[in-house]
């Protein structure tokens, strides 16, 4: 079951904030966030686990809402380097290590000066 990401695309000016959502109709146990620049590999940002706390990475943080089966990625004071496509990936269940991630369709983020 492919997770649903929103919005599909967003344009920001440097210094502005953005929120990217990832939701699933199935129970979520972990959400993996990646950023991919054009023609490059997806780069791992962070993982959110069910029952875990909000994670942070510089000015990028994320949360996991178990009731809504949703994870949100927060980008604050955006920089030009934040531009790229953000993917969330999910797995089938809690004991599903070494199974492939299923990715959402991505959110294209463009930060302009």
């Amino acid at each position: 079951q492919q997770p649903v990401q929103s919005p599909q695309a967003v344009i920001l000016r440097e210094g502005e904030d953005a929120v990217i959502n990832c939701s699933s109709s199935k129970a979520l146990y972990s959400v993996h966030w990646y950023r991919q620049k054009h023609g490059e590999a997806p780069v791992f940002l962070m993982i959110l686990l069910k029952g875990g706390e909000q994670k942070g990475h510089e000015k990028i943080s994320a949360s996991f809402n178990e009731k809504k089966q949703q994870s949100s990625l927060y980008l604050t004071a955006s920089q030009l380097s934040y531009s790229g496509t953000y993917f969330c990936g999910t797995r089938r269940g809690i004991y599903s290590g070494n199974t492939p991630l299923v990715f959402g369709k991505g959110t294209r983020l463009s930060v302009i000066a």
Binding site: A41, P42, R91
Partner: protein
Amino acid sequence: AAGVIQSPRHLIKEKRETATLKCYPIPRHDTVYWYQQGPGQDPQFLISFYEKMQSDKGSIPDRFSAQQFSDYHSELNMSSLELGDSALYFCASSFSLARGAADTQYFGPGTRLTVL
């Protein structure tokens, strides 16, 4: 830190030809995944191997096959290439620390395959 290595980085083939893509996972990682990504699309899972055995199969065409060798490197073999096979092919690896759904996948730089 060592990363996933893929070769070649770029490959140009004619229709109906064959291609072999190679992937060297991060040392001590026991699982390798292959993904295909078309322009503007999300990565689509093809196939994966855990401890040299096929563990999961996704939308991999019958024309493709893959295996993982004793040194844990993996090869994706593609035959009777079609124009629609042109894409970025990523290999990712992970280490099963018995963390279940928390195992993190790390992606290689990809191989850009162009079929003419």
